[in-house]
């Protein structure tokens, strides 16, 4: 399992019509590579409808996810920046990281690294400012503590 986010699972787009489209786009590489099925994407969007926008975990950042299920084959994260931002139930979001968790513990270390990364708001803004996935990859490599 990757310790941060695979570069093939990162995308940068200018805009999305709504948060549903943003989440679908963000999750697509995981579906393409067989980490999740389409069902998991629907479940993430339903979860947001049901539980409210608490997946907006930091300024301009959201962590779409649903409960671990058979729709998740491999634990992984994928990343999407929406340059112009999109509204997530009253919150302006420009960075999405999709969490696909196979069970309730396998992603522990991944999230530990993510939590530390998010606690420094500058990290989020720096990722949003990137124009290529190479640049994002470089920031994560430098600042995402995997130990």
């Amino acid at each position: 399992m990757a310790e941060t986010i695979d570069k093939d699972h990162m995308q940068i787009i200018d805009s999305a019509s709504d948060y549903g489209e943003a989440i679908r786009t963000a999750a697509k590489p995981l579906e393409r590579d067989g980490y999740i099925t389409d069902t998991y994407i629907d479940e993430m969007i339903e979860a947001l409808e049901e539980h409210g926008p608490y997946i907006v975990l930091a300024e301009e950042f959201a962590l779409p996810h649903a409960r671990p299920s058979e729709a998740v084959k491999e634990t992984a994260l994928s990343l999407l920046t929406v340059k112009n931002g999109v509204d997530v139930k009253g919150h302006f979001v420009r960075l999405f990281i999709v969490l696909a968790a196979k069970d309730s513990t396998s992603h522990n270390r991944l999230l530990q690294g993510l939590a530390e990364f998010l606690m420094e708001p500058k990290n989020i803004q720096d990722v949003i400012a990137c124009n290529t996935t190479d640049e994002i990859d470089h920031i994560l490599e430098e600042r995402w503590n995997t130990t």
């Binding site: 608490y54 996810h65 409960r67 939590a115 530390e116 606690m119």
Partner: protein, 93 residues
């Protein structure tokens, strides 16, 4: 003292919140247990302070004796630290 971090599924958001609470406790030099769980299991967990979103605070209010502390942004260390300090004060009384 035991803190509980709660979200819908107990896998993502509450885990991030738990880590933010742990960091706040370290910075305040306080030793305490922090566990994370789902909204459906939260009421049956023994805890002194429950941290969760405003929506879930309203939902849990009727079902738990633990004190509830709403958190808007789960990885906002300043916000979480303020609530942790409040919880520690309330616990001492």
């Amino acid at each position: 003292m035991k803190f509980l971090a709660v979200c819908g599924f107990g896998v993502g958001s509450s885990m991030i919140l738990k880590m933010t609470i742990q960091k706040a406790l370290r910075e305040l030099d306080v030793d305490a247990d922090v566990v994370h769980t789902t909204i459906s299991e939260a009421a049956s967990e023994q805890a002194d302070a429950i941290f969760t979103s405003k929506e879930f605070v309203d939902d849990l209010e009727k079902r738990t004796k633990a004190k509830l502390y709403p958190v808007k942004t789960y990885s906002n260390l300043e916000e979480v630290k303020k609530q942790v300090q409040q919880a520690l004060e309330d616990h001492e009384e």
